[in-house]
């Protein structure tokens, strides 16, 4: 058991799972049919990524567990995702911008992780990377389209930006254990990720004429398992079946 790597893999998996679960909430509620299908397809990809990372976590832990055990039988304080990924789905602008922030992050993250010295992680990152490129193409196109559209669309994009902006620094938060993993060449250097991310996102901000909010509460805590109340409600719904009928399969 390598506790640091295990915790890190949970962070990757929990982030993808919560993003995927939130997108799944759009099923049947997308703005139109094609977009409804796109949202749930991206959801499926993200849940697939979570499954890959949980599988590696299980192997690293050496415990007799399954990816499903990790997804459905841990409580909120055991989740390691940043608060951004557990936020409610909000309106379409909010979902789209949140997706964009995470897509840019994932693009650089998986590019770096595909060179990880932990082979299973490198393989999983390569696989996820191919899919993230398409996620980003879509979310970026929508950000531009909405920001340069009607007054209402612009206003909603700016509102989403104001609401989400101070959750983004937490994506790059690291602790002592992660720094050691990075030194060993197992995970990415998060300060490098952050500079790539800022560069790319600032290009979009100017293209979309969004106004960067000046100050706000900086989200933090996910890495230590301190979450917003949103995660508890999400897990209550997502984990209901396994909690009510332990070991249930179909």
């Amino acid at each position: 058991m390598e506790p640091a790597l295990y915790q890190y893999l949970l962070r990757l998996a929990d982030s993808s799972l919560t993003m995927g679960q939130r997108l799944a909430e759009w099923c049947g509620h997308g703005p139109y049919l094609e977009e409804d299908v796109a949202l749930t397809n991206v959801s499926l990809d993200l849940i697939g990524h979570a499954q890959m990372f949980y599988q590696i976590a299980v192997e690293v832990s050496g415990e007799h567990k399954t990816p499903d055990d990790l997804a459905f039988l841990r409580d909120a304080h055991e989740f390691r995702n940043p608060l951004l990924t557990e936020l409610p789905k909000g309106d379409f602008a909010y979902t789209t911008l949140k997706q964009y922030f995470v897509d840019v992050f994932n693009l650089h993250l998986y590019q770096a992780l595909s060179k990880s010295k932990h082979q299973p992680l490198a393989q999983a990152a390569k696989k996820a990377l191919m899919e993230v490129k398409y996620h980003l193409t879509r979310s970026q196109a929508w950000c531009e389209r909405l920001s340069l559209s009607t007054d209402e669309a612009k206003q909603r994009m700016q509102q989403a930006f104001d609401d989400l902006w101070f959750y983004t620094p937490e994506l790059f938060e690291t602790d002592e254990a992660m720094l050691q993993l990075a030194d060993q060449g197992l995970i990415a250097d998060y300060s490098v990720l952050q500079s790539y991310w800022q560069q790319q996102v600032s290009d979009l901000i100017s293209k979309c004429q969004l106004v960067v909010p000046q100050s706000g509460w900086l989200a933090t805590g996910g890495l230590q398992g301190e979450h917003s109340e949103h995660l508890g409600y999400m897990l209550a719904e997502m984990q209901f079946l396994q909690r009510a009928y332990p070991g249930c399969e179909w």
């Binding site: 094609e34 499926l44 990809d45 696989k127 191919m130 899919e131 879509r138």
Partner: protein, 160 residues
Amino acid sequence: MNTEIDTSQLVVKIFEILESVKDPEIPVISIRELGILQQVKIAGATVKVGIIPTYSGCPAMFVITEDIINTLYNNGFNDVKVELLNEPVWNTEMISDSGKKAMKAYGIAPPLSFNEKIISCPQCGSTDTTCISQFGSTACKALYRCENCLEPFDYFKCHA
């Protein structure tokens, strides 16, 4: 009797049998042509079939696994294990030329490259087409419309 030759002949035979296992979403293409079927190994009485997923969240993998087991069972192999391999990582280069042809004939534009902007209509061949959605009926496809014959069609996205 040379058991090694026997085994390799058996592997060839199993590959032939598995040619009838098609992708559930594109039933004109076998899982071998799509690059999903990667290896067949014989370990004692057990047939081990190694497959890789196209997309990480692809729900068809469960159906494909069952189809492999059922197909081999119907051909007299009742001890079959299907393993999901981590390597190689699937990409659209693995789709065989015959697979791409069959795909086109079925009405799905086969994958070109990630930055390819000109996607031809599989019905009339026109290059005057518009992307309607990056994600079509499944995650691996995008939805297009032909501006010439006005038919909507799926484009199998490039993953490389």
